[in-house]
Amino acid sequence: MELICPAGTPAALRAAVDAGADAVYCGFRDETNARNFPGLNFSRAEMAEGIAYAHARGAKVLVAINTFPRAGQLGLWQGAVDDAVAAGADALILADVGLIAYAAARHPAQRLHVSVQAAAANPDAIAFYVEAFGVKRVVLPRVLSVPEIAAITRATACETEVFVFGGLCVMAEGRCSLSSHATGQSPNMHGVCSPASHVSYRDDGNTLVSRLGDFTINKFAKGEPAAYPTLCKGRFRTGIGAGYIFEEPVSLDAVEMLPGLKKAGVTALKIEGRQRGRAYIASVVASFRAALAALEAGRPITGAGLTTMTEGQTTTVGAYRKTWR
């Protein structure tokens, strides 16, 4: 199985390649990619240099252009497609049907992957993209159990890629407007979720209150670690009960699922975290490289010991285990 690693900066790209990534995914410094955070991502020149660096060391670069182009302003996104192809991208990761149609027609030889943001969660959805555009791979949404991933992979005419580590969307990706409801900024349109520009903290004496836009997302007692106020991982109140009603501030760690994912026929394993630094990249990549080596050699896979690298410092296997639902 290939190991696909994130890079938010040229330094992170080099760290990922050096640590043994089979491929690195990254995006341009604008709204065309789903990690449109300040200080992150690649200029055109940096993209070309990064691709050259990776290719010289036998690694691939996948360029994510996976937000949904703004109506009336398609040029920004189509230009990103053209520039990524010109820079020598090994594949483009796309979510929008119109943009995939553009890329397939304009660059018929270019390898195309369907982004997780397209939420292709079953064999018919995947077949839609394969039949209409000849896509070669689909990144599966994090709503499926391992047996379901196996069934989909068997029934599908293209490769499958799944997330194994890092931030975890609780909602079906690419189909969530929670962030724009509260802040006006959405993953689909702006490439951000629960953006830092809308986050504030209030100290109420013994309680730290985290807020997003006009809403309290969480409250922490003194000494309790304060997680970032991602909207779906906050504490809320209902008539039935209060607490983490959607999900706790956990991250995905599916290292224990690697044997099952291999048996399922998955082609590639993806690590989330283009917003993370070099140290995170190097450490997570090295640890998954070791886990994959153990898997190949038939040795037991030990826990990767990466819990401290995760955002909430607690992990889950998420939907990969059916009871998560």
Partner: protein, 296 residues
């Protein structure tokens, strides 16, 4: 400008569901009615026996009846059900997932608000495969709506104009989770909240609404004051999403404003009386946070 009654998103008792549609057939001034379960396949069996009667009654009343597909199709059983629905050639189907569009290509169909149509290129692609109606994603601003409508003049473009707005869908059932159950043994606890379960912040700010695997706003989208804006954006229909209030009265108020028989401001006040406690919002269409109310 036409009116469409969207599918019931909540888990209503089967007989209430049937009676609701009988009254819509008899009294509501809407051209089109979308029926069928869109949120959770586990709810389907309960009202399936009423579906043919309801469709017949609506058709006899002169409404166009469209069958909505599930928004999230993950289980093999669901995939087969949706394939069967899409291949029923005597029905008009509204696709809420790309998987259903695979089977609808080449014949007239509708696309619902759960399929990502964010621009004119995507709309044109779907139109070329037979989409004749599109209800756009609720988070789109009016400028995007206008550019899309201009790009596909042959398509009836619709926007979500009334009701708690769908914001997310998940594999996980939050109703079950709150009741310390899982989706597989959920005991259909979502039926206890026919208008959704209110979610407040820890500072008691009204925020969201849980409906099984779906999360909606707690504010109620209300675009009655934006009808002129939407008309000039090229919108052909407004979607009214059923809530636990008098939806016939809601439809009449929208109809009166569309026809110029009532001022929007006056209709807003009347809508508030029909749906007591509702906090109205229209931020998305004005490129603001969805929770906001602009121009009130």
């Amino acid at each position: 400008m036409e009116l469409t009654l969207g599918p019931v998103l909540f888990n209503w008792q089967a007989d209430d569901w049937r009676d609701f549609y009988f009254r819509i057939a008899d009294e509501a001034p809407v051209e089109t009615v979308v029926v069928g379960e869109v949120v959770c396949s586990k709810r389907m069996p309960f009202f399936a026996r009423h579906l043919p009667t309801v469709a017949e009654r609506l058709t006899a009343a002169g409404k166009e009846v469209i069958f909505g597909s599930l928004a999230l199709v993950a289980l093999e059983r669901e995939r087969r059900q949706m394939e069967e629905l899409a291949k029923s050639e005597d029905l008009t189907v509204e696709a809420n997932d790309v998987s259903v569009l695979r089977h609808l290509a080449g014949r007239p169909h509708a696309i619902g608000p759960f399929v990502n149509i964010y621009n004119e290129a995507t709309a044109a692609f779907f139109a070329s495969r037979g989409a004749r109606r599109m209800c756009l994603p609720p988070e789109l601003p009016a400028a995007s709506v206008a550019a899309i409508a201009a790009g596909v003049p042959e398509v009836m473009v619709e926007v979500f104009a009334f009701g708690r707005v769908p914001l997310a869908i998940s594999a996980r059932c939050y109703h079950a989770r709150l009741h310390k159950l899982t989706k597989d043994n959920c005991r259909f606890v979502c039926e206890k909240d026919p208008d959704g379960l209110a979610v407040e912040t820890l500072d008691n700010e009204p925020f969201l609404t849980v409906n099984g695997v779906q999360t909606l706003s707690q504010t109620v989208t209300n675009l009655v004051g934006d009808i002129d804006l939407l008309r000039s954006a090229g919108i052909g229909a407004l979607r009214l999403s059923p809530q636990c209030c008098d939806m016939v009265a809601i439809a009449r108020l929208f109809r009166e404003v569309i026809d110029g028989r009532r001022e929007a401001r006056e209709a807003e006040a009347a809508l508030a009386e029909v749906y007591p406690g509702a906090v109205f919002a229209n931020g998305f269409v004005h490129a603001e946070p969805g929770v906001r109310r602009v121009g009130a």
